[in-house]
């Protein structure tokens, strides 16, 4: 085992001492108390094992990210177990083929949902969104085309992102085929 830089170790201990409580508070919105403790321990160990390859300035960020990823993995695992527990063992699928197909479906479904979300944005907001993200125009250029300020362009983009996010969240909460009249009515 390689020798850990004592200064870096000290720095990480300081980061943990200072940010452990805020990290646990943030995680407690996702997991129960005992799981929060486990996730923080697991994330700390992960960072400690990779201490040599992590820059001191990014230690905190790396630690937060590790904790978030572990928490999300747990949440996904719980969801998958709930979803498939009733028919586990009844199907034997070719694992590789299944994974490829799943990835393909996910990619297409993701695009479908995002296209629907963007197409439901108010007209000017949608155009600003497309100018920036599809055409790659600068915000200044878009402002000149539309004869408005860059601040207004920022407002359109912010509004567009918030509406798209709400649409995605509602689509994910319903069946893939379901329409979302509430959002449609609000956006148009």
């Amino acid at each position: 085992m390689t020798q850990v830089d004592p200064l870096k170790k000290l720095h990480f201990e300081q980061v943990v001492a200072e940010h452990r409580r805020p990290l646990m508070n943030a995680l407690s919105k996702m997991l129960n108390h005992s799981e929060v403790e486990e996730v923080v321990q697991e994330a700390s160990l992960k960072v400690f094992l990779h201490l040599d390859s992590i820059e001191s300035t990014t230690l905190k960020h790396y630690w937060f990210r590790a904790a978030r990823n572990i928490a999300l993995t747990r949440l996904r695992h719980e969801k998958v177990v709930q979803h498939f527990s009733h028919d586990l063992g009844t199907q034997m699928l070719d694992q590789q083929g299944h994974t490829d197909l799943t990835a393909l479906f996910e990619k297409n479904e993701t695009r479908e949902i995002l296209i629907k979300a963007i197409n439901r944005l108010p007209p000017v907001c949608r155009n600003v969104f497309l100018y920036r993200k599809i055409d790659g125009l600068s915000k200044q250029h878009i402002a000149e085309i539309l004869g408005v300020s860059v601040h207004t362009i920022d407002n359109h983009l912010t509004h567009g992102m918030k509406l798209c996010r709400r649409f995605v969240a509602e689509m994910m909460a319903t069946t893939p085929e379901a329409e979302v009249p509430g959002i449609t009515a609000e956006i148009t």
């Binding site: 919105k29 978030r68 296209i115 963007i118 197409n119 155009n127 408005v148 918030k162 994910m172």
Partner: protein
């Protein structure tokens, strides 16, 4: 491209909305020092802010991937707010091309001047 980043799983909606505002402000912009400080103060308030900012900025960046399906995105015909034309351009277009009365006026003035010069010579 996964949709997870859009959802901000386990994060408060208000925090995700604030992250969206910062991602858009920081995109293609020169922020003042004051605004940059405000951003870092917000970022350091909670690990939630770190997560939300990171995930929304990734989502924002990956939206470029929709260029492949640009044909499926509806563009609306937006009429730009009319900009007042410049004075010189306005004058030139009216006097030289637009109003026939103006052309006749200039011709009349020219004829008068020519007539006066001819009278003076005679």
């Amino acid at each position: 491209m996964s949709l997870d980043g859009w959802l901000g799983i386990g994060l408060r909606s208000q925090v995700v909305d604030e992250a969206i505002e910062w991602v858009i402000r920081l995109d293609d912009s020169d922020l003042s020092d004051h605004d940059r400080w405000q951003f870092f103060i917000w970022l350091e308030q909670s690990p939630e802010h770190h997560w939300a900012y990171e995930e929304i900025s990734e989502v924002w960046s990956k939206l470029h991937g929709l260029r492949e399906v640009a044909h499926a995105l509806h563009r609306s015909e937006v009429i730009a707010f009319p900009v007042e034309p410049s004075t010189t351009e306005n004058t030139a277009s009216v006097s030289l091309k637009g109003d026939p009365f103006s052309r006749w006026s200039w011709s009349a003035i020219l004829l008068v001047v020519v007539g006066m010069v001819a009278a003076a010579i005679a």
